[in-house]
Symmetry: C2
Subunit: 407 residues, 2 copies
């Protein structure tokens, strides 16, 4: 008997039929003799509808209130799934984030899980029940409801699996697994049977929407195998885990992309201590997520500082840095909001020469200009014109022979 | 500075405009220097939509799950109202039933409030906030969500007022107050400026939908003045309180009616101890609310036993009593599900002869047959053909001169 945590996304529980279908899948897992904890997202477009409702009432929704409002979406789907399972003859119970013991900090709309106190879940499991947990939500020590922000339900599921010592965390979604590149843009893209945590983390962080990087990090931290698979088919999916076989290392495993990139360059920045602090503290104060940061060492003590943010936050970011730009005596700042990002990812790339050169040549041959380059140990990222991202993906997929069979 | 609890029903917060309008009314109350606690129902038809959703998933929704599902409706409206108030520049915070400290028993779908631990509300009020409480819901000591059943939000409001020692509990709804009879059926009906708890209790219990009897009872118990008024106009409403002036006693104050009456008669019941127990325990076991019970003393130790239930529960009630009917050796049972109920209500009627006679004559003159009669100290009720209820109301309103000016 294994203990399995399953997570079903919003498109899987979009309507009553979807919920009944998920109930049958959960029941099948139970029938194999497993203990099952299920984490659900809100039904289909519910979260967007609730946000829309809030915007009808107020231009600027209060964060605390918005979190309570949004948390109702997962309460609805989790209770309906529990009802559906009961009507199939299974003992089931739904628990809110609070009831499931998911304690978070008080940063509304993007709370982080502090700890999971799973005694209620353990008790219900011991009584033979299937436990349904409302994803995406938690509670503070002051008993205020929070939501976990992007990737919230994935994070709930992996945190649950870690806390319960589950054998596996299965993420069911509307794609069949992790691909070498986005199959909608690269027809040759191939589903990976397995992938390591680090590679998945880079893929997820650099644009693969299939699983949120927070969930991958958590999986790695607690060494929980995470399966990503479709909730609509029986196809095998992709297993994310540690200890990937030696021979699949030292090659590019996948290509991530992101179409939502804006670049802000601060021109003529005096190169002295405290400058970066002034800039990035002003962004942090406005809760703006900064992605890539690049600053070249200067020769004449004047340099340019470039960073990227999500396009939706670019105007806000420009306003936020303006006072700092003035106070540090920089020449000004420039926004380019029509960019995209392509990244090649694979463990051990740094030890093998030529990956970067091959990437740059592939882009050059398509006539694609590179705006910015950053790298990590297992990733090389180029920021390019947004309109050229699809061409870049196809070219890179071919250049690194990702269509070839492998694990 | 007064402490005022206001309750707004579902039709008052049916959409974003309604919520903004309620926010302006709440703000106006705050502007007068009052502390304000607001209890809200779910938006418009939300509760029915959620029930419908549950029925799409399962034929028989689990009670515990259904309560969590339904409780989300009031979470949505309460957070939206808090947002609307904040956008008007007022400090406001929404609290769920659990956060508001509304502890109930664990009888799902019709939980009773055990106690209100209002320290969180008191703290927020002391910080100068307007507190919005999600109506209709509470929490058990095992931290499971419950709903209070019919009249739940009214009950939340009065319980809140009692627990906080509020100066008044104001119930805002889609009617302008308590009328001498339903103005939709009796054009001559007149709005009462005030009414006593007991009279209101009988009016509410016998069909006046304006306020739930549970809320009236609670108001009387803790001596909380309850104002019933429209959330759409500035009309003055009806004040429900103790100590009504002497001169308005000893007359009929209002006429209640109910179109949802089914009568079950058990024929040929042996008149011996334990018979009623057998019948009514079988109904209680099925959670069926029995309204009126009538049994005539028998001369030949064989009698008929009659009781009424809501029409929607009549078939279930027939099935529930069947085994008991057989085991006690009764002749059988008969259902009449097309009945209505009219009641005249006024304190001190029992001390003044002739009320009953006047009522029966008024019905007789309309050719209306009386199926059943029951009385209390301040009420006389006749059960009649459902189709004749409107005629009966008009005739009784005239017979007791309720159109005449008075308090």
């Amino acid at each position: 008997m294994a203990l399995i945590v399953q997570k079903y996304g919003g498109s899987s529980v979009a309507d009553a039929e979807g919920i009944k279908s998920v109930a049958r899948r959960v029941a099948a897992t139970r029938e194999k003799g497993n203990q099952v904890v299920v984490v659900v997202s809100a039904m289909g477009e519910t979260t967007d509808q609730l946000i829309n409702l809030a915007h009808q009432v107020t231009e600027k929704a209060d964060d605390r209130e918005l979190d309570v409002l949004l948390s109702t979406g997962e309460l609805v789907s989790s209770t309906l799934l529990a009802m559906a399972l009961k009507s199939l003859g299974y003992e089931a119970i739904s628990l809110s984030g609070a009831q499931a013991g998911i304690w978070t900090d008080a940063v509304y709309s993007r709370a982080r899980i502090i700890t999971v106190e799973a005694h209620r879940i353990v008790k219900e499991l011991e009584e033979g029940k299937i436990v349904i947990v409302a994803g995406f939500q938690g509670i503070t020590r002051d008993m205020d409801i929070t939501t976990l922000g992007r990737g919230g339900s994935d994070t709930t599921a992996v945190a649950m699996a870690a806390s319960l010592g589950a054998d596996i965390c299965e993420i069911y979604t509307d794609v069949e697994g992790v691909y070498t590149a986005d199959p909608r843009l690269v027809p040759q893209a191939r589903k990976l049977a397995e992938i390591g945590y680090e590679e998945m983390l880079e893929l997820a962080s650099y644009g693969a929407k299939v699983l949120h990087p927070r969930a991958v990090e958590l999986g790695e931290l607690f060494n929980i195998p995470v399966l990503v698979a479709s909730s609509f088919t029986e196809a095998p999916g992709t297993l994310i885990q540690g200890g990937i076989a030696m021979e699949v290392r030292n090659k590019v495993r996948g290509i991530a992309h992101d179409l939502d990139v804006a670049k802000i360059t601060i021109l003529g920045v005096p190169d002295r201590p405290g400058i970066a602090t002034a800039i990035f503290e002003s962004l942090a104060k406005e809760n703006i997520n900064v992605d890539t940061i690049v600053q070249n060492a200067s020769v004449d003590r004047i340099t340019d500082l470039t960073f990227t943010v999500a396009k939706s936050e670019s105007e806000k970011a420009m306003r936020a840095v303006e006072p700092a730009v003035k106070s540090i005596g920089a020449r000004g700042c420039v926004l380019n909001a029509n960019l995209g990002k392509v990244s090649i990812i694979g463990t051990g790339m740094q030890n093998v020469p030529g990956f970067a050169a091959r990437m740059f040549r592939a882009l050059y041959e398509q006539g694609i200009n590179i705006e910015l380059i950053t790298t990590s140990e297992i990733r090389i990222t180029c920021i390019i014109d947004q309109a050229r991202v699809p061409d870049a993906l196809v070219a890179l997929h071919k250049a690194f022979e990702l269509e070839k069979e492998g694990i």
